[in-house]
């Protein structure tokens, strides 16, 4: 280990260029959009290397609380950001997302409205109540006054999409942006009740960040014109 560090500092000394690294943890649903923001940020800040780590928001919080070296954290919902407590500095909302019904291409079950999801013979797949997309699903069902009886309660949006893409399920509930990202492997069906449950994405600096200035700049870019354009193109709403 010591030898490795020596070698690294020796290299850095030889280069005479200070490479700064900014570590960003972000929810899995932000993968495509944050990769674009990263490219723009690195173009504007030469000598800066942004390292992105994507995962389930809860997973990422566990890692941060376990003292992972992180500068910026972007979560898929407010509740998960709240789990960071004082470690999250100045959280700001930067995007919103709503649910959409997702069906296999051709919509074999002929789903048209949210009420259709209550049909007894329908193979329905949703997120489990413990994960962000699952709690949103429960709220939407309550708002619509529909009793859902899912055939499977999956751990993540990815798992729900997988079952729908494979045609194993007739319908699923995921975010608008997930349907857009899945391309033509699935079809999305919008429903008015979705507007009653809006999921908000917050972003914050992490206490003890090594690159405080860079972290501020990155968050500014996400909140600013670049972020709005990239996120808007992917189907995210503005808070």
């Amino acid at each position: 280990m010591g030898v490795l560090l020596l070698a690294m500092t020796a290299c850095a000394g030889a280069d005479r260029v200070e490479k700064k690294t900014l570590v960003v943890f972000a929810a899995a649903s932000l993968q495509a959009t944050f990769a674009e923001v990263e490219a723009e940020f690195e173009a504007e800040n030469p000598g800066v290397d942004v390292k992105l780590s994507f995962g389930g928001s809860s997973d990422l919080v566990t890692q941060i609380l376990g003292e992972a070296p992180v500068d910026v954290f972007a979560s898929a919902d407010l509740a998960t950001m709240a789990k960071l407590g004082d470690r999250a500095i100045d959280p700001q909302d930067f995007a919103t997302n709503t649910l959409q019904i997702v069906v296999p291409p051709g919509n074999p079950a002929g789903i048209e409205t949210f009420d259709d999801l209550a049909a007894a013979d329908l193979r329905l797949v949703v997120c489990a109540a413990d994960v962000p997309c699952g709690s949103a699903t429960q709220k939407v069902a309550a708002a619509a006054g529909v009793e859902l009886s899912p055939d499977s309660q999956e751990q993540s949006v990815t798992d729900v999409l997988g079952k729908v893409v494979a045609g194993e399920a007739d319908a699923g509930l995921v975010y608008v942006t997930d349907v857009a990202a899945a391309g033509d492997t699935v079809e999305g069906i919008a429903f008015p009740e979705a507007a009653s449950v809006v999921n908000t994405y917050p972003i914050a600096r992490v206490q003890g960040a090594e690159q405080e200035e860079l972290a501020r700049a990155f968050i500014e870019m996400v909140l600013g014109e670049t972020g709005r354009r990239v996120l808007g193109d992917a189907g995210f709403g503005t808070p």
Partner: protein
């Protein structure tokens, strides 16, 4: 330790101890995190009981299926020789080495509603999507090679001497199989069945991919632990311990490899 046999080189003990510590320390760490005060209520919740009961039922069924399918497979592989046997053996043992998630995807494309046999199943009126049957199929798929590989080894070690004698005395092949072959390799068969059961009990990737998760129907204990790890970490740790204890009991009852020695 080794009596008057060949002594072991001293240095060998150091990496051996390191290995033992590497395996045991995480288990000790987990036990140290268990909230003993609430242990009863944590593992006694309805969802936990459902998951444990489902896991035991499906793993038991899978083990029976593994024995029914695996014993003939092992006998054919051990007692016959034909062209391409090596390739066949390698293919049969494939689920040992491919990631469980990949096994799940393969099962989905075979038995799923849009899979290879989907239309056939539909005609027969069988719909296994999101059913307990799908869990059993996933577990059987990943556990079968364990039974085949240990039983084939036992059969080869036992040799064919007694079978040949019985045959020359006029015993029919079925009689030889029932009265000679099976009793000879019974310890190996038990060891293989125990391994298969333990593997089925721990199966997660193929199950979640192929069968999904619904309390009491497809949510096995590993799936329940995966789901609870954030919502209720204490419950996840307690259930993990239950799974470890069951696995230790199973391996203790029939130590794999005991039949071979």
């Amino acid at each position: 330790m080794t009596g008057r046999g060949v002594g072991l080189p001293r240095w060998l003990y150091v990496p051996a101890m390191l290995g033992v510590v590497f395996v045991l320390l995480p288990l000790v760490a987990m036990v140290s995190r268990v909230d003993w005060g609430d242990f009863g209520s944590l593992v006694g919740s309805a969802s936990a009981r459902d998951a444990l009961w489902l896991s035991l039922r499906t793993s038991g069924t899978s083990t029976v299926l593994c024995v029914l399918l695996g014993v003939p497979m092992a006998v054919v592989l051990a007692r016959t020789s034909f062209r391409g046997q090596g390739i066949l053996r390698a293919l049969v043992l494939l689920p040992l080495v491919i990631p469980p998630v990949v096994s799940g995807i393969a099962l989905l494309y075979t038995f799923g509603r849009r899979g290879l046999l989907g239309p056939t199943f539909e005609v027969l009126g069988l719909d296994i999507a999101f059913s307990t049957a799908a869990v059993v199929m996933a577990q059987t798929f990943v556990s079968l090679p364990f039974l085949v590989i240990s039983l084939e080894g036992a059969l080869r070690t036992a040799g064919q001497r007694y079978e040949v004698v019985a045959a020359t005395l006029g015993a029919a092949p079925t009689t030889v199989f029932r009265r000679i072959t099976l009793p000879l390799v019974l310890p190996g068969l038990l060891g293989g069945a125990v391994l298969a059961f333990a593997r089925a009990l721990g199966e997660f990737g193929a199950t979640i991919t192929f069968a999904g998760s619904l309390q009491g129907t497809t949510t096995t204990l590993p799936t329940q632990i995966y789901l609870e790890r954030f919502a209720d970490p204490d419950s996840a740790v307690a259930l993990s311990l239950v799974l470890v204890v069951v696995a230790v009991l199973v391996i203790g009852v029939a130590r794999p490899g005991r039949g071979a020695s």
